[in-house]
């Protein structure tokens, strides 16, 4: 048993935090955010950040430690970077065919390519299925994709998109450039786009991917469940970042001198609120790291613990951000303040990935099955 981060993990965290600056993305348009993210990617690549977890090395604790650092210091680009690397990049690394890995992984890992992806909903959530789920029609020389995907992550800013489509053999992922004929990207969802969360709907009107399936087809749900787990891991790490930023902002305000008056923290109601916030932050962090370690070391036990972490960390993030707003008063409510941004993001994190209600149901199902 060991509760300390390793030296390498701490050093990498420090290097990531040292890059901070210029990561404020609130209010940026999609093109401006894309430019900001693409400026960061090579720097992160040079630290080895982009390669973490793409194979089994670096998964678990090292990955979470690095993600937490980026989510804390650069929240506006965190989701964009993670979607490109940890969702699309890892999909290609683990399940991509040789050609896709050879062509796309190097530029992804070097920070020269920004990817986007959409994860198909679980079959047991029919309400989440899109009205026109894309299908891959076999052609003599490839496939033709027709349909519509909502909620394409990084859709408005990606260079290449990893889009799933169903064929008789199962679900496969196809890599499509943002400029592909027949691909229509709807405007980015507002106001999410102003907060650095770039989502849009993608219409596929007879799009012919330049190459065959990049990954798959997958005849069953197993690899897709793994992708959804990766998505939850990103949101868990992001939640830790939200909590740390909100807590730090509130603490700084509470301890700031106020002339002849006592600082806010000297008033019990503020001090106690900060105490509750820190308790949630420390508890959530330990649970997140334990979940990450279990997923890497004892995969059979990892699923339930991951869902526990998803629920606890995202809901704690809302509470911590709410506490920060109370302490900061109207200042915390202003655009640009981490407290209001964190409060907003925390709600998104609760519904994204495995929504907290769904996660609770899955935890309950697992308990009832195992006894």
């Amino acid at each position: 048993m060991d509760f300390d981060l390793g030296r390498e993990e701490i050093v990498l965290q420090g290097k990531i935090k040292a890059l901070a600056g210029g990561a404020d993305t609130e209010g940026l348009t999609p093109p401006a955010l894309k430019a900001r993210v693409k400026a960061w990617l090579p720097e992160l690549a040079s630290l080895g950040y982009l390669a973490l977890g793409l194979d089994s090395r670096g998964s678990g604790i090292p990955l979470l430690a690095a993600q937490e650092a980026l989510a804390t210091c650069a929240p506006g680009i965190f989701l964009a970077v993670e979607t490109s690397t940890r969702l699309l990049g890892r999909l290609l690394a683990r399940y991509g065919n040789e050609e896709a890995r050879r062509e796309f992984l190097p530029p992804l890992l070097e920070g020269r390519l920004l990817g986007g992806v959409v994860l198909p909903p679980r079959p047991r959530t029919p309400n989440d299925m899109p009205a026109r789920p894309p299908e891959a029609e076999p052609l003599a020389h490839g496939v033709r994709l027709t349909g519509r995907w909502p909620l394409v992550i990084n859709g408005p800013i990606a260079d290449w998109l990893g889009l799933p489509a169903r064929s008789p053999a199962g679900v496969a992922f196809y890599l499509v450039p943002d400029s592909a004929p027949g691909l229509i990207a709807e405007p980015a969802y507002a106001p999410l786009s102003r907060r650095g969360l770039m989502l849009c709907d993608i219409d596929l009107n007879g799009v012919e991917p330049p190459r065959g399936a990049a990954a798959g087809p997958f005849p069953d749900e197993d690899p897709l469940e793994e992708l959804r787990a990766w998505e939850d891991d990103i949101l868990i790490a992001g939640s830790l970042g939200i909590m740390q930023r909100c807590f730090d902002t509130a603490r700084e305000q509470a301890k700031a001198p106020r002339g002849k008056r006592k600082p806010l923290i000297a008033h019990q109601e503020h001090g106690f609120k900060l105490a509750e916030m820190l308790t949630l932050l420390q508890t959530a962090r330990l649970l997140a790291y334990r979940a990450a370690w279990t997923a890497a070391s004892e995969p059979a036990e990892g699923g339930v613990l991951r869902h526990c972490a998803k629920v606890f960390c995202t809901e704690s993030a809302e509470q911590v951000a709410s506490g920060a707003l109370q302490i900061l008063g109207i200042e915390g409510y202003r655009e640009g303040n981490p407290a209001q941004a964190g409060y907003w993001e925390a709600k998104v994190y609760q519904v994204a990935g495995t929504a907290t209600e769904a996660a609770r149901s899955q935890i309950g199902d697992a308990m009832l099955a195992k006894g």
């Binding site: 048993m1 060991d2 509760f3 300390d4 981060l5 390793g6 604790i61 603490r251 301890k255 923290i265 019990q268 001090g271 106690f272 900060l274 105490a275 509750e276 820190l278 308790t279 420390q282 508890t283 959530a284 330990l286 649970l287 790291y289 334990r290 370690w293 279990t294 070391s297 339930v304 613990l305 869902h307 526990c308 629920v311 606890f312 209600e357 996660a359 609770r360 149901s361 935890i363 309950g364 199902d365 308990m367 009832l368 006894g371």
Partner: protein, 380 residues
Amino acid sequence: MDFAFTPEQKMFKEQVLRFARKELAPRAREFDLRGEFDVEGFRRLGAFGILGLHFPEALGGSGADVVTTVLAGETLGEAGVDGGLMLAYGAHSFLCADTILAHGTAAQREKYLPRLASGEWIGCMGLTEPGAGSDVAALATRAERRGAHYVINGSKMFITNGPVADVAVIYARTGPDPGHAGISAFIVEKGTPGFTAGKNLIKMGVRSSHTSELIFEDCAVPAENLLGQEGAGFLMALQTVEWDRSALLAPFVGGMSHVLQRCIAYARERRQFGRPIGEFPAIKHKLADIKIFIEAARALCYRIAWCKDQGRPLNHLEAAVAKLFVGDWSLGPANDALVLHGGYGYCHEYDVERTFRDGRLAPIGGGTSDIQKKIIARLI
């Protein structure tokens, strides 16, 4: 980072689980209902080696590390051992015996620890007073040096094991200074003239753990019963916090695991509206919330235990965080467990109501939640 137990710890856990389920858990309901201290159960804990688990072997213990000791506590809770018995064990081993282990002379250790480890003697710790609870520094019990004795006058309140203890570690003021300075610790044996225990206080929960006032009226204890140095008492009391925030919290967490198992069984068996209630999302969500609390709380206790094993100074902030979380955040899941069982959950036959009552102590005993918040706010 590594959250794994060693193979030896896993094996030990299985042994404790088997022992506790067979020898202790079946007694829980009866002793809680009667509000009676389970002397036989306590002796069985001693015979199995739990009471002196972390003591050196030469003093009747097993030399276990802190993580293993915490694991034992959590496992007892998981087995369904009565919360009152576990509280008695905790006060005995960590608040009384460990203080003698940490600060006693060789003679004191040899005299008391083997008999405390075996359970032949029961220990308690007297710090809280009627006028000094959260404000520990306001303690007023005095010990005056008179020749070869210290004469103690004053009283202690809410002392776990008070009515049944053979040995007490008592904190009294020896110096003229107010506040934390000038507090010393003494070993006082049952039967010492001038030392009496009040009657058992009937409590909402942990009812088989007997709690009372301790009264000192010109109670003369031999000078060699001073623990450590004069004036060092407050620091000694502070050092028990490490155990309080790990080994004494762990049974609460383990107890919730036991309750979760009960809830799962009930959710599978109980049928309403033509199907097991476990099929309803509302029930699944309650199970999930209990599970989430358990998983969140466990790591906090073990972190403190592991740090103590590493020889690190107590991190008061982390200790307060652990106590605050386990105390305050356990109430919701305990309520969920009770409500999940419906009317049956309100009846004594079902363990959930006992756990609900027992768990209500967690935000109060050993330092209230508000005190933890005060500590955290001071250290932020």
